[in-house]
């Protein structure tokens, strides 16, 4: 049994403590906004916040997550009004949209840590997140506009 706090709610999860948080969140807790992309931490689609840090939930086990505050895309804001979400909308970033929860969670952690990121800091923070549709130019723009709004 693992006790995991996700988006402020305690969940008791009866699963192998080595199960990646990704699959526990999706298949057991039932929050599907966090996406599977690669399973090896190479694409960022499964990015969540663990105590405010952006981490890959496919590499974070239930055991790792125990005792920490987990936030998923569903918990980033109550109504989609986090500055990064608003900037994503204003810049019409998504195409297929599948990677965007991970991109947004990564960008939100960046802005929190570095409120006015330079171009290089944006590249460094976001290079672990793949978008196969190729929305990177707008991601860059959106992060800059979110940074201005913060």
């Amino acid at each position: 049994m693992s006790q995991i706090k996700i988006n402020g709610v305690e969940h008791t999860i009866d699963a192998d403590p080595q199960m990646p948080l990704l699959w526990a969140i999706r298949d057991i807790v039932g929050l599907t906004g966090t996406k599977f992309g690669c399973g090896v931490g190479a694409c960022g689609a499964c990015t969540i916040h663990l105590d405010g840090q952006a981490v890959r939930s496919c590499l974070t086990t239930l055991a790792d997550a125990q005792g920490h505050e987990i936030v998923t895309i569903e918990g980033l804001s109550a109504d989609g009004t986090h500055p990064v979400q608003l900037a994503w909308e204003a810049n019409n970033v998504p195409q297929c949209g599948y990677c965007q929860a991970g991109q947004i969670m990564q960008a939100a952690a960046l802005i929190k840590q570095t409120p006015k990121p330079t171009d290089q800091q944006i590249v460094d923070a976001m290079s672990g997140n793949i978008c196969r549709c190729g929305t990177y130019q707008r991601i860059r723009q959106a992060i800059k506009s979110a940074a201005e709004a913060v």
Binding site: K35, C43, E89, N92, V93, C96, S127, I139
Partner: protein
């Protein structure tokens, strides 16, 4: 021909219940389909669906799949424009796979050109009927009634009625024939041509959008399937014991292998069924399987490539021939030749193949991210041995498609497993499964030769291409390309050269080959646009000037007169929209138009620092015209960066300029991947790459500052999703030449060759 029927009226006549609103079904006439000529009857089926209820809610069905192009927004937007309704009153719903929608195969960059006319007509027809209903209500001439933003207004009296109030009456009215329907003037379009956010935007940024992988049914089991690492192999024997010992694993079952060519059907393998995805994957790792690897177990990329390249050196099947190329080459003032190579590529769309199926009482329901619901229905029915009418195809959002999700093998896996297990089953591929069992973009070797005269003008052009055909995935013993494949950058070569011969050499296939965004245009545009640049260099001329010379005077090409032997389907327009096919010739003037605009907007000719350069390429594909200028910088270590890209598209009438822009930006990124990173290689029949760690795709660090421009005109819409891909890679490679003097003739670019 487009026939419209008022479904609710028909239902009324039949005594059906659905009479509370105006329901308009409409259907594109397809010349080759039997129902095309039928006015009404049991085989008559609409291809999209509009309803207005008495509250005024307008529901428009998106019958094409949304994989990121914006089509789920843009086609309903066209209908809404003609309907003259407030977009905020419109609810867009995704249609199931159903023959009543006509063609639903969302590929070939054709949704907009195929459905622009029918959507306009559907909206305009409904608008006209609502006006008639209002006129009848007020007992005034219909000419005094005008639809405006969800209301019909009677100008002389100032009265107005909402569409919702008119829906019931309109539903009883005869549908006017299309000849009597007035379409809006272009100047009156309120949505077409203006940027519009996609309908799923808020759901996406809040993590609420539903992709295939997000579908959950009560009692659903999770499956992970181990497939033979070699195409054409099958299970000899297996031991499920250790897999079954993993907590959460419930069953291990075998999906029978489909013999080659396996087409749309599952590859087969051993499936582990569990209570969650992770347990299924863990169980799978404990499977002990002995494989019969089959005839492809000895297949290696390196000797295969050498074989294709050797074939390209020899004469092949002639597919276009005019003038006398051999004579012109023999008497050339200067002769240029080059060989080009593009490897297999994998789609690597972010959402892996996945599907949910539920087998109940000899029927099957499916939920999947599919580009081709029609094919899902057919394939699932085939593998289960049931009627297509007993298969329900629910279409979710797609986390990328790029052609991979045109093939429903993964849905058929879920269907078979659900029947075996007796419960709903979700199959989720791993990324390794996706990379190692894809329908790969075809490897391709090409040889080009040209004769230049004293002035450097091209007098002869010889192009040989050798690649495994997509058709080989479906039919045995196919070794030559189809007319459609050769019509992607070979026989449709637009340059004004008096002597041209194109040939196709034979190639066997050893993996599943499939459509990948822009398909055979990738290798062909790479070779043709690179070779044009090589000719410019050989002639000592500026590449833009030289391309103008090659393109010749504005004219449309008559491919028969130019010696094209094979069928030229022109991206399907002849077959799918015969009524407008003559609007889409190969137009050298439009190629010139995009070339001139990109040259004007890209600082072409301005000096750059050492080891930086600009390259240009121009190409027609999917009925659209795109020119690209790439500005690259090559480091002393040979690494290529791309500070800026300028892209011009002429795709005729634009529905949603923001989405066209987005598609071009995205196509550029994908093409950068094709040019610089992506490469599938095979050893002993096994794909050597496994994940994003070794199958490389572009990330944000290589993203250029991309500028997109449109040629504005009144031509009918043409393709947008794919045409940005083909010219970008050769523009980059031509820029590398300008920066370093080194020619890139094989992709992906090897930085070792570019070291200072």
């Amino acid at each position: 021909m487009t026939v419209i029927t008022n479904v609710s009226r028909r239902d009324l006549l039949k005594g059906a219940a659905a009479a509370s609103g105006l329901v308009l079904g409409f259907h594109v006439g397809f010349r080759k389909l039997p129902f095309a000529e039928a006015a009404e009857g049991p085989t008559f089926a609409p291809n999209a669906f509009l309803s207005i209820d008495q509250t005024g809610l307008v529901t428009i069905v998106a019958s094409r799949s949304e994989m990121g192009t914006g089509i789920k927004t843009d086609l309903p937007l066209v209908l809404a424009d003609e309907l003259e309704v407030d977009w905020n009153q419109v609810k867009v719903v995704q249609g199931q796979g159903d023959p009543k929608y006509g063609d639903q195969n969302t590929d070939g960059s054709r949704s907009t050109w195929q459905f622009f006319g029918p959507m306009r007509l559907a909206g305009a027809t409904a608008r006209q009927m609502l006006e008639t209903a209002a006129a009848q209500t007020w007992n005034v001439p219909v000419s005094e009634c005008q639809a405006q933003n969800g209301f019909v207004v009677h100008a002389p009296s100032g009265r107005k009625l909402a569409y919702g109030d008119l829906a019931k009456l309109a539903a009883t009215m005869p549908v006017p024939p299309s000849s009597q329907v007035r379409l809006k003037d272009r100047k009156d379009w309120r949505y077409i041509g203006k940027p519009r956010a996609i309908v799923d935007l808020k759901d996406i940024v809040q993590g609420r959008a539903t992709y295939g992988i997000d579908v959950v049914l009560p009692g659903m089991k999770y499956a992970s399937v181990e497939r033979c690492p070699v195409y054409g192999g099958k299970v000899k024997s297996y031991d499920p014991k250790d897999a079954l010992s993993v907590a959460g694993v419930e069953r291990v079952v075998e999906i029978p292998a489909t013999p080659m060519p396996s087409g749309f059907k599952p590859l087969g393998g051993i499936a582990v069924i569990a209570s969650n995805t992770w347990s299924a994957q863990q169980g799978r790792q404990r499977l002990k399987i002995e494989w019969d690897y089959g005839p492809n177990a000895g297949h290696d990329s390196a000797p295969y490539r050498a074989e294709l390249e050797a074939t390209a050196k020899e004469p092949g099947k002639v597919v276009r021939n005019h003038g006398d190329v051999d004579d012109a080459l023999a008497s050339a003032a200067k002769r240029v030749s080059a060989d080009y190579f593009v490897p297999h590529l994998a789609h690597a769309q972010m959402e892996v193949p996945n599907a949910v199926a539920h087998w109940v009482a000899n029927t099957c329901q499916t939920w999947s991210p599919t580009q081709n619901p029609t094919q899902v229905r057919q394939t699932v029915a085939q593998v289960l041995g049931i009627n297509e009418t007993d298969v329900t195809v629910n279409v979710t959002l797609l986390g990328g498609g790029f052609g991979r999700k045109s093939k429903p093998d993964y849905v058929a896996e879920a269907a078979l497993l659900s029947r075996m297990v007796g419960a709903p089953v979700k199959v989720t591929w791993t990324r390794e499964d996706d990379i190692q069992h894809d329908y790969y973009h075809a490897i391709c070797a090409q040889h080009l030769e040209a004769a230049l005269d004293q002035d450097g003008r091209a007098n002869a052009w010889l192009h040989r291409t050798v690649f495994p055909a997509i058709e080989a995935t479906f039919q045995p013993d196919v070794v030559y390309g189809s007319g459609g494949e050769l019509g992607q950058g070979v026989v449709d070569m637009p340059y004004d050269i008096p002597n041209v011969r194109c040939e196709n050499g034979a190639a066997a296939n050893h993996v599943r080959i499939g459509w990948y965004r822009s398909v055979y245009n990738i290798p062909h545009a790479f070779a043709v646009c690179s070779f044009a640049d090589e000719l410019a260099a050989a002639a000592g001329k500026d590449p833009v000037e030289y391309l103008r010379e090659l393109l010749g005077p504005p004219r449309t090409l008559d491919l028969k007169a130019l010696g094209v032997v094979a069928d030229y389907p022109n991206y399907g327009v002849d077959e799918l929209a015969p009524g407008i096919a003559n609007q889409y010739p190969i137009d050298a003037g439009r190629l010139r138009g995009v070339l001139d605009l990109v040259a004007a907007n890209s600082n072409w000719g301005e000096k750059l620092p050492p080891r930086q350069g600009r390259g240009i390429a121009v190409h027609r594909s999917f009925l659209s015209y795109v020119a690209v200028v790439a500005h690259v910088a090559v480091g002393n270590d040979g690494q290529v960066t791309i500070p800026r890209l300028d892209m011009v598209i002429d795709c005729g009438t634009i529905v949603n300029p923001d989405r066209v822009r987005a598609q071009l930006e995205g196509a550029a990124i994908m093409s950068i991947g094709n040019a610089l990173y992506s490469n599938i290689t095979i050893k002993e029949g096994r794909i050597e790459q496994s994940n994003y760690t070794d199958y490389l795709v572009p990330r944000i660090d290589v993203t250029p500052d991309t500028h997109v421009y449109f040629v504005e005109n009144d031509h009918l819409p043409s393709g947008v999703g794919e045409p940005g891909v083909p010219p970008t890679a050769p523009a980059i490679c031509n820029a590398i030449y300008a920066a370093t003097g080194k020619r890139i003739r094989a992709l992906p670019v090897d930085p070792q060759l570019l070291k200072a």
